[in-house]
């Protein structure tokens, strides 16, 4: 088999699993087994693809659907950046899936849970692999359609209301995305990302005016910011995360959010960064001719707002899941911050993107772990209000240990992944001499310590509360597995760092990307 075919392996695995779980709804045990096998198969598929990308001479594997050459056909591209994100998605989704099998009620699983979960993974996988900007929209929709239903899954009072906000906002986001993509097609004459990068790099030869492209890419950025929950588009996050079942909240924060982050890295650092605006921007505070000179300050303001707003909001929450949701807003700011520095200062670009990726990985694992733990705690005590919680360390030591490790990972204690994530963020800012970014990161770090110590004091120490129901072992094991992941990835950090560096290199290797996709020249 040609290595090119491996690109669709994870996509097909998730799709086939979704169909099979839909077909076997009558037998719960078969459906569950198929779903878990599908989750493991997805991990294997990603692993094989990862290996193929590693051993590939160019490091980029391209699959032209139906053998239609780019830019006429649809292209799927797997490079170091895609497989890094896929690896994160595969590991977190498997843990969340194993957790769901015990956590979601039998009725809920029979109705629709498994097919929706795997269809969401289809959308996530497609978004990571697509090399075509319109298909990015289509994969986003596949992912969002499933996530709409999963957010409204319990269909109680708060859940429907949260789902309504989530759906309406994302539908508006989709319309805006269509507008931006249509405009980009009209101005650049292509939808293929590699072709677009090539044309933008030489825009006079193709008769492209870069000014509207800059505006349209800025409009497109609002959509990704909305998906990633970056301030000022964060307002839907707390309600949606609280309404969704715990494993779905773990997936939304751990994986779905990262699709927005991936799209930002791929489009703004690989594709749009090819263009320059010869006339420059005559706006206050925005100088320079490269597109990234413009996006740098925008990224920075939004990252700083996310960090401060998320941290401040998390400190004031009265419930554990509300605190985690606000914390998620703050943490995505930490992912965007090194990207902002990298956009402004070209010398630290590789380091900045690697920092963002490591932080994404850390947040994916740790936040998924925390949401799963909060799900178990709610199952045990019937509440997530800090006022009614206490003494969980005595009642559930393993679970509390897992929560503690997740909290430490987000705070950034060595040797957990979070330490390296935070270190790289600070390193990027320090090397670039960005004092303001350092100050924001420091404030964010202090806020993180504040809200996690508050959660720990209120929920895990003090007088033990009554336990309604001991959770099954599987739930604790899923939490413990993710906690182990945070520790193992932190101790054996070298390969992770190599992978992140390779991914950052791939994100910036525009020539290699264009050459691998090889769009034919059309005038």
């Amino acid at each position: 088999m040609e290595p090119a075919h491996l690109v669709i392996a994870p996509l097909l695995t998730a799709l086939v699993t979704a169909i099979l779980t839909l077909a076997t709804r009558s037998s719960l045990s078969i459906q569950r087994a198929l779903s878990l096998v599908g989750g493991v198969g997805y991990l294997v598929g990603v692993g094989v693809l990862y290996n193929a990308v590693q051993t590939d001479a160019d490091g980029v594997i391209v699959y032209q659907l139906s053998d239609w050459a780019a830019p006429f056909g649809i292209t799927l591209v797997a490079d170091a950046l895609s497989v890094f994100m896929l690896g994160l998605a595969a590991l977190v989704s498997l843990a969340a899936l194993a957790f769901s099998v015990r956590f979601i009620s039998d009725y809920g699983q029979r109705v629709s849970y498994h097919p929706l979960y795997h269809l969401m993974m289809v959308g996530v996988t497609g978004s990571f692999l697509t090399g075509d900007i319109f298909n990015l929209f289509v994969w986003f929709e596949v992912m969002l359609m499933s996530s709409y239903v999963l957010v409204a899954f319990y269909s109680g009072k708060q859940h429907t209301r949260a789902a309504l906000t989530y759906v309406v906002l994302n539908l508006l986001g989709s319309a805006v995305m269509l507008l931006a993509i249509g405009g980009l097609y009209a101005t650049t004459g292509t939808l293929n990302m590699a072709d677009m990068a090539r044309r933008l790099a030489d825009h006079t030869a193709y008769g492209i005016d870069p000014a509207p492209v800059l505006g349209l890419s800025a409009i497109l950025f609002t959509v990704f910011a909305l998906k990633a929950g970056i301030a000022p588009f964060q307002f839907w996050v707390p309600a949606a995360y609280r309404a969704a079942p715990a494993p779905v909240a773990a997936m939304l924060a751990g994986v779905v959010k990262k699709v927005g982050v991936y799209a930002i890295i791929r489009l703004y650092f690989t594709i749009f960064a090819a263009a320059t605006l010869p006339a420059g921007l005559s706006l206050p505070g925005l100088s320079g001719t490269a597109f990234l000179d413009f996006f740098g300050p925008v990224f920075f303001i939004m990252a700083a707002a996310s960090i401060l707003l998320g941290g401040y909001g998390a400190v004031g929450r009265r419930t554990l899941d509300g605190m985690l949701a606000y914390s998620s807003i703050g943490q995505v700011g930490f992912i965007l911050l090194p990207l902002a520095v990298a956009a402004t200062v070209p010398e630290v670009r590789t380091l900045g993107i690697a920092a963002a990726l490591i932080y994404s990985l850390n947040h994916g694992f740790a936040k998924a772990l925390l949401f799963l733990a909060s799900g178990v705690i709610e199952r045990m005590t019937g509440t997530l209000e800090f006022a009614n919680l206490g003494g969980l360390t005595e009642r559930a030591p393993v679970l509390s240990g897992g929560f503690f490790l997740g909290a430490l990972a987000l705070i950034g204690i060595p040797p957990l992944t979070g330490f390296f994530g935070k270190l790289l963020v600070f390193d990027t800012a320090a090397r670039a001499g960005a004092d303001l970014a350092l100050a924001v990161a420091l404030a964010g770090a202090i806020l993180t310590i504040a809200y996690f110590s508050r959660a720990w004091n209120r929920g895990f120490w003090g007088d033990p509360v009554e336990i309604l129901e001991q959770p099954s072992g599987t739930l604790t094991v899923a939490v413990a597995a993710l906690a182990l992941g945070v520790v193992v990835l932190g101790i054996g950090f070298d390969p992770v760092m190599d992978a992140a560096n390779a991914a950052a290199g791939a994100a910036l290797d525009r020539a290699g990307y264009v050459e691998a996709v090889a769009p034919e020249v059309v005038q």
């Binding site: 289509v138 009072k157 508006l172």
Partner: protein
Amino acid sequence: MTQFVLAAVLGLLFALGTFLVLRRDIVRVVWGVTIISQSANVYLVTMGGLSGSVPILAHGAHGDLSGVTDPLVQALVLTAIVIGFGTTAFALVLTYRVHQEHGTIDLFELERGGDT
């Protein structure tokens, strides 16, 4: 001429959609979202240029192959319409569910009746 008419219609549709999205009634909000996404589709068609002839030539009936309207945008619009149908249906079902749960589709009452 077509361009000017379409531009004016698109502007009106977006205005109407935005107006409806800001209403208190959820059904109107859903209508607003639908109108905005449909106007995005119309906008997408205009992005291919409107000067040409029909993109598919049946047995070469129109002879001249130059000046053909870009067929790609129409394929894109078809995809977007299908997705739009699905999401609209879901939004309407969700509206019905909200009415069942809360006994109202007034966003103002929904907000007041909710927790903090």
